[in-house]
């Protein structure tokens, strides 16, 4: 598989504070990656380093298997960091024209990309008159100008209203479906869960997990149960090796699975034991629960 970005033992210190600590991971072509972490976990710093605006303290990174210099590689990358930064006195079109000049892209791309983000009819309006959602969409258009090999987005939905968030997300999904590699940094878990196939979890600059999203949610799930034969059910579950633990919350019993088992098998088992259930739901842990588990326990 073609490698787009390799990061090896990257470290960044701001004085006494270590923002990124010995971080390593690889970005392969065609996947959608998420970098997850609470605020201040080093997501933006990591992106800043690979985007040539923050100096690393030690370690190294290479774009496209190290065949080009970083600033040449960045011409094949589309990136937006935090807030959209443009010249307020220029129109949308003029701002994109400037980006074309930097990246060495033909001006004909401008209208095409403005169309994708739905700003074509506002192309001659000044950037300073745009709403935050429009600014963010213009930033995406600008990042797409060079038909990038990889699109890097840092908190793209930060500060947007629900409608804006929805627009940006569907835009990201649309871009991903066209085969563009995406690296999305976010602290919004459902965002990453909905969009990404792979995830890197950071906490205080350290990598806690990297791999597929569905493998991160590694547990076999749990049953939520209710029954009139409360005590019998609990003692059965506690003595059954298929379950790791059992929790009680009033009438509701939560039983965590040790091995895969589907709901109908379980129901049959209960029936054989003579226990009748009034409530049976099988659920998997969400990324959020998994993420909190990862970031809290360490």
């Amino acid at each position: 598989m073609e490698t787009i970005l390799t990061i090896n033992n990257l470290t960044k210190k701001f004085g006494y504070l270590t923002a990124v600590k010995d971080l390593s991971f690889t970005i392969n072509k065609g996947n959608v990656y998420g970098i997850l972490g609470p605020n201040g976990s080093g997501k933006s710093t990591t992106l800043g380093i690979v985007l040539n605006v923050v100096n690393k303290t030690s370690g190294d990174f290479s774009w496209f298997e190290g065949q080009t210099t970083t600033h040449d590689a960045l011409k094949k990358v589309g990136a937006i960091i935090e807030n959209p930064n443009f010249y307020p006195y220029m129109s949308a079109y003029q701002n994109l024209k400037l980006v074309c000049r930097i990246k060495g892209v033909d001006y004909s791309k401008i209208d095409e990309k403005l169309e994708i983000v739905g700003l074509l009819d506002r192309k001659n309006s000044k950037f300073s008159n745009f709403s935050l959602g429009m600014k963010q969409r213009l930033a995406i258009a600008s990042a797409l100008l060079n038909d990038p090999e990889i699109l890097i987005l840092d908190e793209p939905t930060n500060g947007l209203d629900p409608q804006g968030i929805h627009q940006i997300r569907s835009l990201i999904k649309q871009i991903a479906s066209e085969g563009t590699t995406i690296l999305l940094a976010s602290h919004l878990l459902d965002e990453v869960e909905k969009v990404c196939s792979h995830v890197v979890v950071l906490r205080k600059g350290e990598k806690l997990y990297s791999g597929r999203v569905d493998e991160m949610i590694s547990s076999h799930g749990f049953f939520e149960l209710k029954s009139v034969q409360h005590e019998t059910l609990i003692s059965f579950l506690q003595n059954n090796p298929d379950f790791i633990s059992v929790k009680e919350e009033g009438e509701l019993i939560t039983a965590f699975l040790n091995e895969p088992m589907d709901a109908s098998t379980f129901n049959k088992l209960m029936f054989e034991k003579g226990i009748t259930l009034s409530h049976l739901v099988m659920r998997k842990e969400s990324l959020e629960e998994q993420f909190l588990k990862l970031t809290d326990n360490n």
């Binding site: 930064n85 930097i102 600008s142």
Partner: protein
């Protein structure tokens, strides 16, 4: 190189404030030059015609026009510091780098633009002085017309040097207004150095030291022409004689400072986390 200049020109010319300042810094000295060359009649009492004073004679006109025009560089200096200040306040410097401009290219695009405008200013002054000179000058032989055109070179180097200094201050403090304040501080600092040098050494030595400092070395490129005008009227006053010529070492000092300022700007940007 053309790409980098185009890039910067787009940033400047679409900004109304810098467009006005650029216009002023180029058109104003030109207008003053033309106005001063026409005959002004004060209500029939007397006429003032600066041309009569002989200041528009070749070759002294090169000296006079470049000396006065260089005061208008302050307008463009505001443009230079604000073109750095704006990049920081809009955070577009970060976006430029992310878009694939290297830090070196960023500084070079500013420097090339400085060189471009300095060249433009020099050419405009050269054409203006040439035309006025042809009209007024008592001497019109080619050898006299083109003598002392080294003042034009000095003017060009002076502008490039001064704007590079502004660029450096802009990079250093990131704010336009503070950068201009720094220019003023540097001016005071040079006089303090001078004062200390007078105490430690002597007046002669102090001047020699001050001549190496950035602002003084730029000023020195084109010395004041008043004494020279007086001298041309009263050639018998030998004690007024002074060295007003453009010397190669003066050019070298300013070019040296230019290189230092551009290099330091680059170093600053390279080491900075944006």
């Amino acid at each position: 190189m053309l790409r980098l200049v185009n890039l910067e020109l787009q940033k400047l010319l679409l900004n109304r404030a810098s467009k006005v300042l650029i216009f002023i810094s180029f058109i104003l000295p030109f207008t003053v030059l033309i106005l001063s060359s026409i005959k002004i009649n004060f209500f029939g009492f007397f006429t003032l015609e600066l041309g009569e004073l002989g200041i528009f004679n070749f070759p002294i006109i090169w000296h006079i026009t470049t000396f006065f025009a260089s005061y208008f560089k302050l307008f463009f200096a505001i443009v230079v510091v604000s073109m750095i200040g704006n990049e920081y306040s809009n955070k577009t410097i970060k976006q430029n780098l992310i878009d694939g401009l290297s830090k070196k290219e960023f500084i070079l695009s500013k420097f090339y633009t400085i060189v471009f405008f300095s060249l433009l200013a020099t050419v405009l002054i050269a054409i203006g002085s040439f035309c006025i000179g042809l009209y007024y000058s008592s001497y019109t032989e080619a050898s006299i017309i083109f003598s002392e055109t080294e003042f034009l070179l000095a003017y060009f180097v002076k502008l490039v040097g001064f704007f590079s200094l502004c660029l450096f201050f802009g990079m250093l403090v990131k704010r336009s207004a503070f950068a201009l304040a720094f220019l003023f501080l540097l001016y005071i600092f040079e006089w303090i150095v001078f004062g200390v040098a007078v105490k430690v050494f002597n007046l002669d030595m102090a001047w020699k030291i001050k001549n190496f400092l950035p602002l003084e070395s730029m000023y020195n490129l084109i010395n004041q022409p008043f004494q020279r005008v007086v001298m041309s009227k009263y050639p018998e006053k030998i004690d007024m004689a002074y060295d007003y010529a453009v010397h190669w070492y003066e050019l070298v000092i300013v070019l040296g400072w230019t290189a230092v300022f551009i290099f330091l700007s680059y170093r600053l940007l390279k080491q900075r986390d944006l």
